[in-house]
Point group: C2
Chain length 106, copies 2
DNA sequence: TTGTGCTTTCGCAAAATTGCGAATAGAGTT
DNA sequence: AACTCTATTCGCAATTTTGCGAAAGCACAA
């Protein structure tokens, strides 16, 4: 419906190569690591803005301070949508998710 | 630093009550369910736009069609940041996450 | 009808995330 | 010094998400 239904297999191969070959994990180490740092920072910022301690925020979302601490650790790579939503909800916010096109080099 | 460091415990209690009491899971059933539906729809849309089948997209991110199908199911509640990123990356997009203030009734 | 391609559902094992207590560290106060 | 509050780190069990094959459904064409 969208495009040529057939011979799409080739295009998929090309896309796959473009995505995984060459830079198998480099992109994850750069762009994704950066994203994780940003999330950690945002959580910390949100909590600080509300004047809450980790223990207090933890209680608010039904968990402990060590969990909050982990979330605010810039090196933490396990961020989940579920947790972000819990944090957001406790702060009277919501998590907005958008897919935004990335510019391929120049 | 942000506000009165002491006697904040009371405020936390108030916030906790406001968040969990009264509507313990109702908010999750409404706002969160809606959010999940939207994510499912966005994934489907993204894939359709690229003219890919579930099998093709699955291969692209290193999984199978059944997984993609699950992601596009409006009733699916297990969406994760990790998976959204894989989808996005395969489509040459990135996942943008924002905390946005929610309006408290009137 | 058969066949083909795509999607959907189901079940369970594997992997990832969360829960949580305990211990440690740091800063500030008395 | 001791005391208090906060933050951080560690380890492991519990829960959640993912992987993946198999089977069935659906639409369309031959």
């Amino acid at each position: 419906m969208a495009q040529k239904p057939k011979s799409a297999t080739d295009a998929v191969e090309i896309l796959r190569r473009r995505t995984y070959d060459g830079k198998p994990e480099r992109l994850k180490s750069l762009e994704e690591t950066r994203a994780n740092e940003e999330i950690a920072r945002k959580i910390h910022e949100l909590r600080a803005q509300a004047g809450l301690t980790q223990t207090q925020l933890g209680k608010l979302i039904g968990t402990t301070a060590s969990v909050i601490c982990r979330l605010e650790d810039a090196d933490y790579e396990g961020h989940s949508l579920a947790m972000l939503r819990r944090i957001a909800a406790a702060m009277n916010q919501r998590v907005e998710i958008r897919f935004v096109p990335i510019r391929r080099s120049a």
